[in-house]
Structure formats: C-alpha cells, structure tokens
Symmetry: C4
Subunit: 129 residues, 4 copies
Amino acid sequence: MNKIENKNIGAYIWVVPDAYLPPIGDEKLPGHEATCILNLNDKPANVEFTFYFEDREPLKSAKVKIGAQRTLHLRLDQSEALLNVNLERSIPFSIKVESDVKIIVQHSRMDTRQPNLAYMSTIGYPVKE
Amino acid sequence: MNKIENKNIGAYIWVVPDAYLPPIGDEKLPGHEATCILNLNDKPANVEFTFYFEDREPLKSAKVKIGAQRTLHLRLDQSEALLNVNLERSIPFSIKVESDVKIIVQHSRMDTRQPNLAYMSTIGYPVKE
Amino acid sequence: MNKIENKNIGAYIWVVPDAYLPPIGDEKLPGHEATCILNLNDKPANVEFTFYFEDREPLKSAKVKIGAQRTLHLRLDQSEALLNVNLERSIPFSIKVESDVKIIVQHSRMDTRQPNLAYMSTIGYPVKE
Amino acid sequence: MNKIENKNIGAYIWVVPDAYLPPIGDEKLPGHEATCILNLNDKPANVEFTFYFEDREPLKSAKVKIGAQRTLHLRLDQSEALLNVNLERSIPFSIKVESDVKIIVQHSRMDTRQPNLAYMSTIGYPVKE
C-alpha cells in the first residue's frame, strides 16, 4: 500500500540486554529463550550472534542462514547444535545479532520452574545506521 | 495540547517477529494471540496482514477495516473467520501489518496450557518512511 | 554526565494499543492495568487520557497533575476516581496520553484470574514531533 | 558485517517508568527486578541510577562500573549493597540510568507472590542526543 521496500525494513544489528536460560523446569515444556528473526528480503540473511557475559569474554556463534521471506524462532537452549556455542542455564547474558541484510528481531523467554509457565518478550533494540 | 495531528501518528507498516498460537489450554480461556491496532484517523484504516513461516511461503490475509477513531484487538485464533487465513496452533510465525493510513500496533499472547495463564506483549516494530 | 536536559527527555504524546481491564480475579490482588508516567521536568505535567474503543466514540479523561521530578503509576481500575471516566472490565480498548510537558510512559497489566498472576508490560509508543 | 562501531551503539541515558519491587513471595526465588545493562565499548562504563517516586524527592545511586564488553544484570532487591540506595518493596517508582559511554538497557520484573512466577520486561526508553 506504500512504497517502502521489504529490503529496507529493519536493521543490520540488534541488541537484547536481558538474556537468561532458566532452569529446565517442566521437562515436557522446558524453560527456554528464543530469538525470533524475520527476514523480509528476497535473499537469505546470514546471521551471527555475539553473547556477552558478566565475567568473561564474549563468544561469537557460527553463522545461521535464514531463507528469503522466512522467519526463524531460534531456541537458545539448543545453542550448541544451532549456533556452535555452549550457553549454560542460570547465567545472565546479553545478545548482539548481526546480519548481512536487514532483519527484525524479537526475544522471548519461557520459564516453567514453579511449574506454571511465565513469559517475557520484547522487540530488540535496533541499531540505526 | 500540541499540534501533531492524529493522522500523522504511527506508521503504515509494522512488524512482529515472535508470533505463535499456543495449544488451546483452558477451553474457557483459550490460549491466543491478539494484534491490537489503533486507528487515530478520521477515516477507516484498510489493513492487511502477511504471515511469514519457517518453512513455507508467506500468506496474505483478506483486508480488515478499522473504523475512524477505533481500536481493534484482532484475535489470531479466529484468523480463518476474520482474515481468511488458516493459522495453525504450535507453529512459529511472524507478522507484517500494512495499512493505507497510519496506525499503531501492539501484539500480545495469552498462554493457558499449564493451566495458569501467562502473557507476553510488545509494541510492534514501526517501519519509518 | 552529558548535556541532554531533563525537560527534553520523552514525548508529549504516547500511545498504548493493547489495553484491557481483566476480570477482578483475586480480590486481595485484583487484576488491573497501570499507566506509569515519569515527569522529569522541573514543573508539573498536566496529563490527559483519551480512551478508544472497538464500537463507540472515544472518551476523554479529566486532567491529572504529576509533580516535578515525580512518577505516577495510575491504576486504570480506579479510573472513575482518578480520571472521571468509567472503564469497564473485559472490554478491549486503546490509550492516548497527552501532556503539556515531555513525559515517559510505560503500560502494564496484572491478571489474577486463574488465579496465579500474569504480567505484561511495554514502553508506550512515543510520538515524535 | 557492517561498519557501525560498538562504541556508537546505544544511548547515554535510558528511562524505565514502571519499576516496583514486589513482596518477596517465594523465599527460594524471591520476587525482584533487574536492570540489565550491556556495555559494548572497549572501556568500562560508569553508570549512575536516579530513582523517582510518587511522593518524595529523587534518589541518586552510587556509581557502578560495568567492564568493557560485559553485561550486568543488576538486581534492584540488592540495591543497598550494589547502589547504596535503599529501595523498599511495594512502592511504585521509575528509573533513569546515565552512563559516560553508550549502553543498552532492558528492565525486567519477576513476581513470585501467588506463588507461581510472573515476568514482565521491556527495552528501556533510549534518550536520543
């Protein structure tokens, strides 16, 4: 309905300060976080995560490809398989997401410890060019 | 109290990366998501959704009209009736909302699986012209 | 530590699309929403709400004064006493907040129906001048 | 993948209007809020909090240092030890965070009163220069 092209929607870099994998809680519905990434472009997005900690050096992930016009809800409790980074539970961290094309990022947590589930979610902080 | 006109408030395009219809949970209070849209204009907003998935082509909805100076909290668990798109539960997706006038969008989830309800919500990502 | 003056922080107009007063739930901890407003100025903020509905005309509130360098967490389940507007429970609505000085707005819901409490919260949508 | 330098990511001042330390709830998982701050710079961030209340003067915290390329999830229920400010539970307040370098801020609450935990979270409001 208007002329902004899909390839110009979003940002190349996004930041999520509050990341934390809660204890596993309910094994049938394990606590986790998911970084949800939408790629509106007509070509794949090559995406890299950097994880920041309170008391040690940042870790860079392997690259993840997200297809054209596709979303990915990346489960951080599966970071070893998906990102080649071992993220422990119960450790506070932060996330920087970088892409070679513009993307849009939202980050959410599910916690099932008590055991009724709790959620939190926020659009990431987009870095302006 | 100041001079920004209502018709200039908001954006034509909004994005929500983290969308997901949870299992139905409590039948008296079924889990759902709602895309909440405010139209501050003096004329109706004609709004269209595009849904993006992890492994298939995007789907475009039928158009929805939101009256002048009205809000709509559109229940996505009723997408077949309201949007002419069949959205399955337990499938990750993302949302792009487009309008012919400026609108303001917030997206929220209620999950009643365990069965105590959990919420998450965020203002959508507004696309700057 | 830097030179942005407090009076230039925030916006005159804020929008919250997803507002809803849930059923009362637990009477000792009744479900509610709160619009949380920070006034960083050296003078009071005169603030007015407009409430938008799905099927009737918007309602304007009485004005609320927020002192210099003060916050107000305004409980919408007390809107009749605080804002001279009767907001019913279980009705979807949206909110526009206007002020004669710049303010910062966040809006949150507590739901205690099931009866374990659920929260949602988001920074409002700030309207750029 | 692109040329925005880490030192230019974020803002010097952030605001969180809805802050509240809930009653302690579950002693093994006490209710709390955390202000989560990421410092992407190659040097430490010196950070100061100002707390705003409904009916008394603002309080300034001691300064907190966050290392280069480090995150801090600062627990506000430990504000006396960490910030030299006594924040009571069950009192509404707001937060301004100021830093001598750019940072990114997200603020989250965990409430365990009922006693199943509830979360809320939002990226703070970044103050543009």
